[in-house]
Symmetry: C2
Subunit: 160 residues, 2 copies
């Protein structure tokens, strides 16, 4: 499970570096699709990852809006603050948690029963999906996007 979290953290760091070379106005410009801007997308990904870890642990969620985090440095700082708790949770993962029920109250008053394994995979897919959106916006401003390759990052050592 932890391989894809490490992938996401590497790719996220590369997007932060990508942002360093882009004017802040471009990072904040309203765009079509997703959550609406490049920087807000990164904020959203950091927020959602940590929030799910909190929800699974039955702890209070992150409820702040992007308004207070609308610079690259503030998003990076938030990521640094949240990361240790996410890492602890991810590195403590074991297969027995895969089908652990997650009770999710629905708007209609019923309670859906999903699983922790689904939530963890949702956290992973959530970032990848949003980075796909960034890749389109990146081309719109004439800049090469960060690679989405999983291969070549040394994530799993070969058994030689």
């Amino acid at each position: 499970m932890e391989v894809m979290f490490r992938y996401n953290w590497m790719v996220r760091e590369q997007w932060y570096q990508w942002c360093e070379e882009v004017a802040e106005a471009e990072l904040l410009r309203r765009r079509t699709g997703g959550v609406g801007s490049i920087l807000q997308t990164l904020f959203h990904v950091v927020d959602v990852e940590w929030s799910w870890v909190r929800v699974l642990q039955g702890k209070p969620d992150f409820q702040e809006s992007f308004d207070g985090y609308s610079t690259l440095e503030k998003v990076r700082q938030l990521d640094r603050e949240f990361r240790p708790e996410v890492e602890s949770f991810v590195y403590a993962w074991n297969d027995s948690l895969e089908s652990h029920p997650f009770h999710d109250p629905q708007p209609d008053g019923t309670v859906a029963v999903d699983t922790w394994g689904e939530v963890m995979r949702h956290m992973i897919a959530h970032q990848i999906h949003h980075m796909g959106q960034l890749s389109v916006w990146s081309r719109e401003i004439g800049k090469k996007p960060v690679s989405a390759n999983v291969i070549g990052k040394g994530l799993i050592p070969p058994n030689l």
Copy 2:
């Protein structure tokens, strides 16, 4: 491993259904980013998934261009043809294959050593990344994109 392949196949089917309600000219229209059009993205995802399964097995790869597959029905038909071999490979996966070396010749003449576990995760992330691109293009044509949610698809039964 197979959970995210099943997720991708479900989402891909939902994108095919989404395409049914969109004019073919829109599906083929040249767009910014990714591989350039909605239908070519779906073709590319089908192509890449199967090609990696072939490469890992040491079998000949798929080398045809999009030109011969530029309708929704042709892409779906290709997907139907390729799927059984991909499914067989995915469902036969076991943890002992994670760090199995994958020798990948590089343009400079060296040979990188990656792993089968990385390749499998690359196949998964590859589709999710491209579906993120489709979600932006979907909004550009004023249509709601297919949900990227992993939760709520019944992928892992809860242990009640």
